[in-house]
């Protein structure tokens, strides 16, 4: 048993962290957040392409590095810690994984190569309404290769080239399609979101050209598998965020004095940090287990991914809100960076569906078998 990343993976992680510390300051995050015309940090994204990150886990035949999910996990943790305002997750964890899982040879050849080469930004368009999730049949519809309908909120749609879209086909069956976004029948309208450092758009389709991804009627099944995989990677982003928020809170309260001593020396504050640390470590440990399940294609993946996701949602909400609280009044200002993590925590917690959906998946998986092997 070896429940740790390899030396190579740790090296990748520390290099990624170092790179992002230098290249992804909170000022850069704010530049996307505060400028309604910037939809991602293009320079940073370009540098990541130079480092060949988008193709890290894409097979070599498509120009990628052919590395595995564990390398993506350590990268995700670094990205989450730095709040990187780039379409990495949409392009790599979501569109890229969907292509790997369900794309035709030709689709893989064309689009995975473009992702690896840094020529393609992707996004996933599934949510149509309040409470909507990948588990509900969409109202959007494709007839004769033309898509009509709308998606209420699509992260990265403003900067993406290609969208993975859920829609019903002519037989009313839940199906997936690839949609080039740059066509007149697609209207993209920027929307305000809780985390403006990860901009989103509303999409309207009026007979847009699409091509199917995977078999008709298999849409929900493919999305569920893609989301299980993405959940693991998002969990690492969230854990990276927890760690950054906890460090931020501790650093501030070590320096800040009240009643003649560092705020960090008060038991109420120390115990607050202890609770944050416990939540973070539980989330990290569950993310590790899910990383193993993902990398080894284990049957435990649906349970492990949901477990990692639920823990990560809870931990990042706790760490980001209590980091803010530990800053006192200053934490509530726009000027301080506490709300950057608090907003990102909100965004990440609902982006693949909120905690109740994933908790339900945990329960379903646990109760699916009669033996209590996980217990």
């Amino acid at each position: 048993m070896n429940f740790d990343f390899s030396e190579d993976q740790k090296l990748l992680q520390s290099e990624a962290q170092k790179f992002l510390q230098q290249q992804c300051s909170n000022d850069l995050v704010r530049s996307v957040m505060e400028d309604g015309e910037r939809f991602y940090a293009a320079d940073l994204w370009q540098k990541m392409i130079e480092l060949e990150w988008p193709g890290l886990a894409i097979p070599e035949q498509y120009g990628g590095h052919g590395l595995g999910y564990l390398e993506l996990c350590v990268l995700a943790q670094a990205l989450g810690g730095s709040l990187a305002p780039v379409p990495f997750s949409s392009t790599v964890y979501l569109l890229g994984e969907a292509l790997k899982m369900a794309g035709s040879k030709q689709q893989q050849q064309e689009h995975l190569s473009d992702i690896a080469a840094g020529k393609l930004i992707g996004c996933v368009a599934v949510t149509e309404r309040l409470g909507g999730s990948i588990h509900n049949l969409p109202d959007s519809r494709v007839i004769n290769g033309k898509l009509s309908g709308q998606k209420a909120i699509v992260t990265d749609a403003m900067c993406a080239d290609l969208a993975l879209v859920s829609a019903r086909n002519a037989n009313n069956a839940y199906s997936l399609y690839l949609l080039p976004l740059d066509q007149p029948t697609v209207t993209r309208t920027p929307v305000n979101t809780l985390d403006p450092s990860r901009p989103a758009a509303r999409l309207q389709f009026d007979g847009a050209e699409v091509e199917p991804l995977g078999a008709g009627g298999k849409g929900q099944q493919i999305l569920e598998e893609v989301y299980d995989r993405a959940a693991v990677l998002f969990a690492f982003e969230q854990v990276g965020g927890c760690q950054a928020a906890l460090q931020m809170g501790m650093a501030y309260s070590r320096e800040r004095f009240a009643f003649g001593r560092p705020v960090a020396s008060f038991q109420a504050i120390k115990h607050k940090f202890a609770d944050m640390y416990v939540a973070q470590e539980i989330a990290l440990a569950n993310a590790y287990y899910a990383a193993w399940a993902l990398a080894s294609d284990a049957p435990e993946l649906p349970l492990a991914a949901a477990t990692a996701r639920v823990s990560a949602i809870d931990a990042y909400f706790l760490c980001s809100k209590e980091n803010l609280q530990a800053h006192g009044g200053m934490g509530y200002t726009w000027e301080f960076d506490c709300h950057l993590h608090y907003r990102r925590a909100q965004h990440l917690s609902v982006h693949l569906g909120g905690a109740p959906t994933w908790k339900n998946q945990v329960a379903t998986e646990l109760l699916a078998t009669k033996t209590a092997k996980e217990a």
Partner: protein, 405 residues
């Protein structure tokens, strides 16, 4: 134990009800105006109107612009006026916090000059206590007041979290007048004229993009000695009077998000299932209602105690402690239920005018403003339960010798 009015109270309620029907505006469809600046002019007009009718400052003496009535009359007024959309609590900081300080510490002539104008909102007041380095540890403040040969005072330093400073005519300011004694002993409280050039007000942008608070800078600002509130170096005792009244005001007013959650549960469907039928949602609804109802009933107990001649204690901290956390939890829980759609922060697109999206961004402030959760627990532990203080490293130390970050 009853909730009925006495005959005298019933008569008062009837009068109030009739006057409001003629003079107050009913809520309109659409969104509540949450921005304080937009409400400022409305608020000034409303206060002058109610002052003219004799309904300002119900529990103040008549000679100071009040109505000479009791806290129970204030409750009756609140119950009636909350059916309307008037900004009836807008100047609560000046009237609720600064008013009692003026009444308590100033000579009769100054009271008569200042208070009626405050009651009718001719003059607007703010409270200048917190500083960048003195929040939870308020007595660690550094803004200095030096007395000149003439006896007047020169103020230098910076305050923060001052609501309404940009619209204020006067402020009650707490300053350090002696650094060579322990921190509680070298403070003095004053009334300052906010309209002088040496006072600069700079709004603070909050994380939710609102700007309800300000930084205030004093650069040789001037205060005549007649504006001193209480003794030189007796400012801490004076500040406690203000803080006690602040807490009483807070008890009744911290938004807990329950009404919005109930509305959401009543109306929303998620993926075709009404929320009202979902056992997990019902469980949360019940749990939060118990807290909501408990805080409300606690407030009735407090009002009854005050009406019977008691002094409001630190019990008000309960309401603030519960409401802040609960509102944040409600917002988070509701957003999680909505799924990815929750990320949409557009009033027109999101549910219930985007209440929960707004709330997730403003509730962190509730847990900080007017004392953090941690300070509220300290207050309950030390002032209500009388548990022993922690060891104080700065105890008895001259202010200038206390370690600072």
């Amino acid at each position: 134990m009853d909730f009925n009015d006495t005959p005298e109270q019933a008569k008062f309620r009837a009068e109030v009800r009739a006057w409001l029907a003629d003079n107050a505006r009913l809520p309109q469809a659409g969104r509540l105006v949450r921005d304080m600046h937009l409400r400022f002019d409305e608020a000034k007009q409303w206060y002058q109107k109610k002052a003219a009718a004799g309904y300002a400052c119900l529990d103040w003496p008549k000679k100071y612009g009040g109505a000479g009535l009791t806290p129970v009359h204030k409750v009756i007024w609140s119950e009636e006026v909350e059916k309307y959309t008037e900004p009836d609590d807008y100047f609560v900081i000046g009237i609720g916090n600064c008013g009692p300080a003026v009444m308590h510490f100033m000579p009769e002539q100054r009271r008569a000059e200042l208070l009626p104008r405050m009651a009718s909102a001719q003059d607007v007041w703010c409270q200048l206590f917190s500083e960048p380095g003195a929040g939870s540890d308020l007595a660690g403040l550094r803004t200095s007041a030096r007395q000149s040969a003439s006896g007047d005072w020169l103020i230098n330093g910076q305050k923060i979290w001052t609501s309404g400073a940009q619209n204020s005519d006067y402020g009650v300011v707490l300053c350090r007048t002696d650094t060579s004694v322990s921190k509680y002993k070298g403070l003095t409280m004053f009334v300052i004229d906010m309209r002088q050039a040496s006072v600069t007000v700079k709004p603070i942008k909050q994380m939710d993009r609102g700007q309800h608070f300000n930084e205030v800078f004093f650069n040789d600002a001037h205060i005549p000695d007649e504006n001193r509130l209480g003794e030189i170096n007796g400012g801490w005792e004076a500040a406690l009077v203000v803080l006690m009244n602040e807490r009483m005001a807070i008890t009744a007013s911290v938004p807990d998000g329950f009404a919005e959650f109930l509305k959401f549960v009543r109306r929303a469907e998620l993926a075709g299932t009404p929320l009202r039928e979902h056992p997990l949602v019902r469980d949360k609804l019940a749990q939060w209602y118990c807290l909501h109802a408990g805080v409300k009933a606690s407030y009735y107990r407090l009002i009854t105690a005050v009406a019977q001649g008691g002094v409001p204690g630190a019990e008000g901290a309960i309401g603030k402690l519960i409401a802040g956390r609960m509102n944040q939890e409600i917002a988070d829980f509701s957003l999680q239920l909505m799924g990815e759609f929750a990320d949409l922060h557009e009033p027109a697109a999101a549910t219930d005018d985007g209440y929960f999206q707004d709330a997730i961004l403003y509730t962190p402030g509730i847990r900080l403003a007017g004392g953090t959760d941690e300070i509220m627990r300290n207050i309950i532990a030390e002032q209500v339960l009388r548990l022993p203080q922690e060891p104080r490293v700065d105890k008895g130390m001259a202010f200038e010798d206390i370690p600072g970050g």
